[in-house]
Symmetry: C2
């Protein structure tokens, strides 16, 4: 594996609830004369997956609990948004004015349970927010299967989000859904250049793919939500993004 190519797929339309994402992506690829091949990976921004799955919530319809009102006051946030964050979360990890970091029900620790107002259209006059997909690993698997059924090719799928991080500034792309490739690549036990046995080299390969795709996706007006990654030489595997979730007992920074 010496060359890796990432292509931002043009012609992805604004996604609407109920859209068939596989059809939409395959149509866009065809418009650009891009033929998928076995071993390609599609990195797909969470937002279009969530939109297709109808994970939009009108804030006007959200009734904040007492707890949400309390947390909203402590974090300077909209109590209705906080209510949704808490519903989507297992526990609060850290909070302070302007910051609400939670452990999402899927296990990921990130700001606001992945809920934000950016890149979400208003439905009528209502403000809406977008939740993460119910089960992004399953969403990735369905896309992979739909593509295999239509084209007969085996691709990997990585659903990506952007997370902030302890210790380091800036957000980076991370994998929140994976299908058809390893999420974590266990290189332990392989000898290195000088014959030592490598010990701690589980590589977060799906996160590295998501970060690479993040370079093309951007975050702003020119957002490109689908990136075709070609040239990874990965074993076909049933990796899941939840493989990337550090078990609580192994996390010294909870």
């Amino acid at each position: 594996m010496n060359n890796l190519t990432l292509m931002a797929v043009p012609h992805i339309p604004h996604v609407q609830p109920g859209d068939n994402l596989a059809d939409l992506i395959l149509h866009a690829l065809a418009q650009s004369n891009l033929a998928l091949a076995d071993g390609d990976v599609l990195a797909i921004a969470q937002k279009i997956v969530s939109k297709a799955e109808g994970r939009l919530v009108r804030l006007a319809e959200v009734q904040p609990s007492d707890r949400a009102v309390e947390v909203a006051a402590a974090t300077d946030k909209d109590p209705r948004v906080v209510e949704l964050i808490l519903q989507e979360s297992e526990e609060i990890s850290r909070m302070r004015p302007g910051v609400l970091i939670v452990r999402h029900r899927l296990g990921f620790t990130s700001a606001n349970a992945g809920i934000d107002r950016s890149n979400v259209a208003q439905i009528g006059d209502d403000e809406t927010v977008l939740l993460l997909p119910l089960d992004p690993d399953a969403s990735a698997g369905k896309l992979r299967e739909a593509i295999a059924a239509k084209l007969g090719v085996q691709v990997g799928v990585v659903i990506t989000d952007s997370h902030g991080r302890p210790f380091r500034m800036g957000t980076v792309g991370v994998a929140i859904g994976v299908a058809g490739l390893p999420a974590l690549w266990d290189r332990r036990g392989e000898p290195d250049l000088y014959g030592y046995q490598l010990q701690h080299t589980d590589i977060g390969v799906a996160d590295e793919i998501a970060a690479a795709a993040g370079l093309l996706m951007g975050q702003a007006a020119e957002g490109m939500p689908v990136v075709l990654v070609r040239g990874l030489n990965y074993p076909i595997a049933n990796g899941k993004a939840t493989d990337l979730v550090r078990p609580k007992a192994m996390d010294l920074y909870r």
Copy 2:
């Protein structure tokens, strides 16, 4: 920016202390008929930079302090290696048997201050370890300048390492030295697709480059320490990897 190509540069020899890394990389590129162009980025594994800079230490020459002996006992590590880790660090972040996470004098928080025994040759019969470069941002800057002087092209340079992370399993490539491009890309204030002002979208672009390069570099026998990244459309900037260090006051997970 729609396409991004990453090429692992073949023919990089085993690097020795005192080697001129710019010459060595340019020679390898020439052997593959790869001509550098303005705006290319070279991602370079820390290990070859450290080796060229002679950052090898013979363990037989290290005299562990009392504190190092104590920490070594608490972490089941070699007291001589712990001595070097402590010398390279500002403070211990977390420790437990098998784990020693420190804030490096450069500000990065990672396991073992970036010191490990893998991919380090033995000098004679002595075991040796490799420290991080003294000043990786400066190392990146020197490489960039040497290439500009020899070829007249302006490239970006990212010196990469692999870090584990809180919350998530697996290591990913991160930037520990940067020159000629932004390390952190401030997209705040740009309107999103629907006209909202984006708020928290500083992107850790140098880390995303390092992660992307990590997909090609591997960690084991087939390690490819230099990756040419082409197609990033970044502004020339004097970014530094230390821009990616989260100030202590802004880190809720210290």
